[in-house]
Amino acid sequence: MTTIIYVPRDSAALSLGANEVADAVVREAAARNLDVQLVRNGSRGMLWLETLLEVVTDLGRIAYGPVEAKDVAGLFDAGLATGGDHALRLGKTEELPWLKKQTRLTFARVGVTDPISTEEYTEHDGCQGLKKALAMEPKEIVEAVVASGLRGRGGAGFPAGIKWRTVLGTSADQKYVACNADEGDSGTFSDRMIMEGDPYVLLEGMAIAGLAVGATEGYIYLRSEYPDARLVLTTAIERARSAGWLGSNLLGSGKAFDVHIRMGAGSYVCGEETAMLESLEGKRGIVRAKPPLPALEGLWGKPTLVNNVMTLAAVPFIVDKGGEAYAAHGTGRSLGTLPYQLAGNIKQGGLVEVPLGTTIRELLYDFGGGSASGRPIRAIQVGGPLGAYLPESKFDTPADYESLTAVGGLLGHGGIVVFDDTVDMAKMARYAFEFCAIESCGKCTPCRIGSIRGVEVVDRLVAGKNRLADEALLRDLCDTLTSASLCAMGGLTPLPVLSALDHFPGDFEKA
């Protein structure tokens, strides 16, 4: 009998030696004359347990973790093939509380299936959305997305359906779908995990988007920091074409949609949609003024639907199960689920897909298990480098768009970076300016020059020679950045700076 063993190929798992674990499995199985089939799956998202090895038994899938290559022989000795007992045995994967408490709509298949197997994708409900979309009018698809309440997951939270309507309403000889896979925010990795763990769901989402807005060409703008995602996507695109999920004849319908990958080159601001379009055209990724909206004049001047990976990957579920099924989760105007990402100084870091509106405290403690260092959590940054720093007193805030805005923060791409009580918040404020200076596209003076001034002013403030005047200067500078920047790079840098100053004033008064 063949024993099926899963070892993730997710790059987070690889960063802890998953390939070495996989090699050891093959070696040990051969040495024992065991018939083992090794499957390289995506990650279940319990990244602190990587490498998480699973074996298929009569009881279901049994998980072991964190496994290192040196543990593998011992696991086989303990009867791994039948789910034998071992210090690293965690139990049935599906029953692990961390997974069981989640609502996995977008991430339903990630970690479960072989990411590049078209058979497994279809067996696990894949392509159902595309099938339905092919039988629908473009307008019906768009209205399903409107009804779902899905909002842009790339940062700005703009209602996806409304943007789709705009692109559908244009007339042009060529339209495009541009998928933003630049994922530059520190503390985020959900785009990466889906591209590596279930690439077909993104391709299916893009094809549905193409049908909905009348585009036949799609581009994925992928950051250069993600070479593994590039490999998986490249293979997936080839296989999807052979399977008729992409190409000139989608599932035999005669309708066309194809996808191409373009690589970024390590620039944060290229995640801004107009800079991304410039970069996709091969130019310097400098922010364009809006209007014209990309929806009307995007790639090569043609109407272009720009959406984040998570936005597009949510679409197959919505079209298959209906907008209402998605909108049944979440709260207020923040509907559906969000794959939150727990990062930084966190004991149980990883990916948690739960309904929008889950509180920060639940995420940090119920899922995250507190800090990695065991010290008290002092601050978190939600929503990437342009997101606010929040103190413990705000941890009961529901992590949805409106509630976070109400406490002066933003949800962004759903990443939460945790800091313990050794953090120096003045340093973090300084870094926010430094990052802005490094990444500024250079178009606006406040962003290009003001950020460099900002670093100096924070240094002077901390030195403490003229505290009142320097603080006034800092706030003034932030006002200018907020009001005179073309995009959120300059416009939102004041958010981490001022939230650090307002919530942790003591850190600026050390001198």
């Binding site: 790059s11 987070a12 690889l14 960063s15 802890l16 990244l47 602190w48 990587e50 994922e183 530059g184 925010d185 520190s186 503390g187 985020t188 990795f189 785009d191 990466r192 250069s224 920091e225 993600y226 070479p227 690589m263 970024g264 080159a265 390590g266 620039s267 944060y268 091969g282 130019k283 310097r284 990724g285 990402q341 727990l342 990062a343 930084g344 100084n345 966190i346 870091g349 990883g350 990916l351 990695a372 940054q381 480098p385 990443g415 970076v417 945790v418 800091f419 313990d420 953090v423 973090m428 870094y431 990052f435 490094i438 990444e439």
Partner: protein
């Protein structure tokens, strides 16, 4: 195209700029603009090994600064520089998408998570040994 050249040579030499410009029907200044705008492109050859240290927030929360200091002290390459023996180039990178396993580094293209000073020493040693063996075979 510039991606391909850098992949081949490890950097995009000044001499190549004119040829890229001709091929794309751009001016040399345009090519220069693109090359210097993106962090990924180098215009000088790197050391034998390239270590990219993540400087972004999540890795800072887990001690990336100490790691940076360790590399400078012990391996003689400060951020953005190449060690005197030409062995190691250290470059900053802003998030590798491995933030649940911070601090993260990329050594010769391969990402490593939860990198302590000791683990980094071991990784560098291993890389050097592999290179020596590699050239022998």
């Amino acid at each position: 195209m510039m991606h391909a050249i850098q992949e081949e040579l490890g950097f995009v030499p000044h001499e190549a700029m004119q040829r890229i410009a001709d091929a794309l029907n751009w001016s040399r200044a345009d090519v220069h603009g693109v090359l210097t705008y993106y962090h990924d492109f180098r215009t000088a050859p790197p050391g034998c090994h390239v270590l990219k240290l993540c400087r972004a927030e999540s890795c800072q929360a887990m001690g990336s600064e100490q790691l940076e200091a360790h590399v400078a002290n012990k391996h003689g390459a400060a951020m953005g520089e190449t060690s005197a023996d030409g062995e190691l180039t250290v470059e900053p990178i802003y998030c590798l998408g491995n933030c649940a396993l911070s601090p993260a580094v990329q050594l010769d293209g391969k990402v490593h998570g939860r990198v302590s000073s000791q683990r980094l020493d071991a990784l560098l040693l291993q890389a050097k040994e592999q290179k020596t063996n590699g050239t022998g075979s």
